[in-house]
């Protein structure tokens, strides 16, 4: 019961905050001499031009591809870190150490400009994909993906470690190899633990793509800064950019909730935080806080 009351209070709080924000904005608008051109704001949202649409699509596609690379590298990174062989552990450890220990901005610049100028890899355009196949886009995807992989390694590792060892033993006793047991038994269960933080990572990724401004990838943020360079309406335009990002992350929050529902099969009840928790204050779920799933009752 108290939960429902708290939810009600929370809902009122959010509504109140939103109303106050609008009031302050309107009041602030009136208080200064700045000439507001709200058409820039509304047009960017309701009648986006090619630049903005391309920016949205680039942000989305770069995020999806980079996150996918990140998850794949994360699985290998996690398995590497837990491997019996010490060279494998060393390689995985080195990878995570480097990419978590240096700024993403430095990694992006190094991978695109550093490798390009020296001729180690010059990032040629992939013509058939047009703007989406530009060398800078490829470099951005690689940089974001490899960086994300380092973080995902830790998340995947925690997920795998949260599965009790009896599961691996049961799989082995049935004649499965380590690889089969991982694919069929361990990772599907770990996925349930991994998905909430993975969703958080993807939410971050949608916003972090804006760092690709340093290598001039015309994603969402760059699209708006181009517009601002000619129109000089930073208040209206960057407010519109924020709305676009918010739309992307909100849509993702809804999708993620569906994914978590489906992964909850066999574990009873709804799993993971509610939509509201997801949107207005993400509660990271530590693996050791999850309910024990096996054993007698």
């Amino acid at each position: 019961m108290t939960n429902r009351r708290q939810a009600k209070l929370g809902r009122r709080g959010i509504t109140l905050a939103a109303v106050l924000l609008v009031v302050f904005l309107v009041a602030g608008c009136q208080a200064t001499t700045y000439q507001y051109r709200w058409s820039y704001f509304f047009d960017s949202i309701f009648r986006p031009d090619g630049l903005i649409i391309q920016g949205v699509l680039l942000t989305l596609s770069i995020s999806i591809v980079s996150q996918t690379i990140g998850v794949i590298l994360g699985v290998f990174g996690a398995l590497g870190k837990m491997a019996k062989s010490s060279p494998l552990r060393a390689i995985a450890g080195f990878y995570v150490w480097i990419f978590r220990g240096t700024p993403l901005l430095v990694q992006i610049s190094f991978i695109f400009y550093g490798l390009g100028v020296t001729g180690i890899y010059t990032w040629p355009d992939f013509q058939p994909l047009g703007q989406f196949g530009k060398g800078a886009v490829q470099a951005g995807i690689v940089a974001l993906g490899v960086n994300e992989g380092a973080y995902m390694s830790e998340i995947v590792r925690a997920g795998i470690l949260s599965i009790e060892p009896g599961q691996m033993e049961a799989a082995k006793s049935l004649g499965m190899t380590f690889g089969q047991a991982m694919r069929r038994i361990i990772l599907p269960q770990a996925a349930r633990v991994i998905v909430p933080p993975l969703g958080n990572e993807f939410n971050n990724m949608l916003k972090t793509t804006s760092l690709l401004v340093v290598i001039s990838v015309p994603e969402l943020y760059v699209a708006f800064s181009y517009k601002n360079a000619t129109a000089f309406a930073p208040f209206e335009l960057f407010l519109a950019a924020a709305v676009w990002y918010l739309a992307l992350t909100t849509a993702w929050g809804l999708i993620q909730r569906q994914i978590e529902r489906r992964l909850g099969a066999g574990f009873g009840g709804s799993s993971g935080p509610s939509l509201r928790e997801r949107l207005f204050g993400f509660r990271a779920t530590k693996p050791d806080e999850l309910p024990q799933v096996s054993g007698g009752r």
Partner: protein, 272 residues
Amino acid sequence: MSEPTESLLAAIGGAPAPSADTVVEATDVHKYFGRLHVLKGLSMKVQRQETVVVIGASGSGKTTFIRCVNHLEKIQGGRIFVNGHLIGYRDANGRLVEDRERNIARQRQEIGMVFQRFNLFPHMTALENIIEAPTHVRGTPRKEAVATAFALLERVGLEAKADAYPGQLSGGQQQRVAIARALAMKPALMLFDEPTSALDPEMIGEVLDVMKELAHEGMTMIVVTHEMGFAREVADRVVMVDDGQIIEEGTPEHFFENPTHERTKAFLSKIL
């Protein structure tokens, strides 16, 4: 043979025929956990269709031993043969060299194991748990695996629970599914590691009943348990393990009427 679902073993196509009369032959097995010497030259033979019950105090090494039989634990000395195959190792001029993963996995297909904590796969239904290894390890066609699984579920009295997830089953039901899961691989040998120790008392009977049926039908079994009633009724032979060695073995009658070893007497007086 009668109806295919008349017995547990009929459900998996009859009692598997081991290639030798001696299913398990363990000689002088040594096992260390770090510096702790857990198995100190343990030797044991199990004949085809025999049910051997292993008893002993906790920490005596009885569970460790059966985990060595399917190579869930490495051994540091001795040899374990199942159906004439050296388990887990290759013999390189008298030295043990761990075998390739693929070979170990293949050997384990012949050895079913039932765990104390069931270890069912929680993300799969009872049916999926049972057909998982036949379809993905043995390559049995799904239809055939499902038919076998239903026959097994019927025999353990759980055909209505085929689509239930382990989390929706009681401990006793989970353990019966776990037994069916192990049997679905048509093993030549079944290992039971304290299969009723994690169960509420009222559920122990239903699991023991399945195990009794299996023993009577001629499955070769090694059972680690504290259930002396089961040992008395079902065991062909009882083995007492103490401090990593077998200190006494014999028929259930021998054990429960006149045990000879002091440690056996002390142990049985505490447990009976």
